[in-house]
């Protein structure tokens, strides 16, 4: 019963935070809230017996993701602009997805039932063999590195791909080309456009307009 109460408390917190993320416009606050959301979900994972997942979520979701977001925020506008577009489309999609999910979810085996198909087909072998045959008590490690080792290789490559991509994008030498092919390549804006109150008049776009005007007059 206590476990259920703790669960209820944690998920309610998560829902509250998620709703607050929707409504908050200060991005710093949004990022801190998403870190908190991750951390609470990690607590939730502990409560659901997934200690390895909790460990990773706390380190990766709450730790690294938040650090990266904050580091990026140092160079990004701090405030989200008020929404100008219509939200009916997204709401409709969300409603359809929600209806589908609820119909499926209520027909799943009850939460926590031991005889659900998920627990009776493939998983028992892992639990039976890991310690007895391979002498590794942590079944998650055995499944991760051996039974489904290829998934983990793939995931290491995913991480590598992300590292490669970020290096190419942020530390690479291929600079952004502004829209004029006849001019020599523009260096990545030495003067970064500030998050000014009138964003449409940033330095680059005005420079671009000038260029366009010059082009127009010369031809």
């Amino acid at each position: 019963m206590t476990s259920v109460m703790i669960n209820l408390f944690l998920v309610s917190l998560m829902v509250v935070i998620a709703v607050m993320v929707v409504r908050t416009h200060r991005l710093f606050a949004v990022i801190v809230m998403s870190g908190a959301y991750s951390l609470i979900s990690a607590a939730m994972f502990v409560n659901l017996d997934a200690v390895d997942v909790a460990f990773t979520e706390a380190a990766v979701g709450a730790g690294i993701s938040t650090v990266l977001l904050l580091a990026a925020m140092a160079r990004l506008p701090a405030e989200e602009k008020p929404l100008k577009t219509n939200v009916i489309g997204p709401l409709a999609v969300v409603a359809i997805v929600g209806a589908l999910l609820v119909t499926a979810v209520v027909d799943l085996p009850a939460f926590g039932s031991a005889d659900a198909p998920a627990h009776t087909h493939v998983a028992p072998r892992y639990l039976a063999e890991s310690d007895a045959k391979l002498h590794i008590p942590n079944v998650v490690t055995t499944v991760l590195a051996s039974y489904r080792g290829f998934d983990t290789l793939g995931e290491t490559i995913v991480i590598f791909a992300a590292g490669l991509g970020v290096l190419l994008l942020l530390a690479g030498k291929t600079k952004t080309q502004l829209p004029d092919y006849s001019k020599p390549k523009t260096a990545r804006s030495a003067t970064r456009p500030k998050a000014s109150s009138s964003p449409k008049k940033t330095r680059q776009s005005s420079a671009k307009k000038k260029k366009a005007a010059m082009k127009g007059s010369s031809s």
Partner: protein, 128 residues
């Protein structure tokens, strides 16, 4: 009805979290907030899988041969470990793109970027 909620409440709340995350990604214009929404969506997905793997009265799947415990299903845990890493990889790449976009367009709001994009198209037409 009440029985159903009592036995499936965890799933239902996971669905709510997923929907909020999905709504943020789809409706917001701000590129950073979209990424945060995506990670809320994905974290809800993680919770869905872990909920699947949970067994009442179970314990974490670290075997203790001396005691006769019921262990939770380790397979969803493994899958989600993979998914968490994929999630952070996506966030990192998305953020890197956001930084570059901010430098190139002077904004991280989708509508303003689209306006600048349309302007690029006009310049091209003028040239040709």
């Amino acid at each position: 009805m009440l029985d159903l909620i009592a036995s499936h409440w965890n799933y239902l709340i996971v669905v709510v979290l997923m929907l909020i995350g999905l709504y943020i990604v789809m409706s917001r214009q701000n590129l950073v907030k979209k990424l945060v929404g995506l990670s809320i969506f994905q974290t809800a997905l993680f919770l869905f899988y872990i909920t699947l793997g949970r067994i009442d009265g179970g314990t974490a799947p670290i075997i203790n041969p001396d005691v006769d415990y019921v262990y939770s299903n380790p397979l969803p845990h493994v899958l989600i470990l993979t998914a968490i890493v994929v999630g952070v990889a996506t966030t990192a790449l998305g953020l890197a793109l956001t930084l570059r976009i901010n430098d190139a367009f002077g904004s991280i709001e989708e509508d303003e970027i689209l306006a600048a994009k349309a302007e690029d198209g006009l310049i091209e037409e003028k040239k040709s």
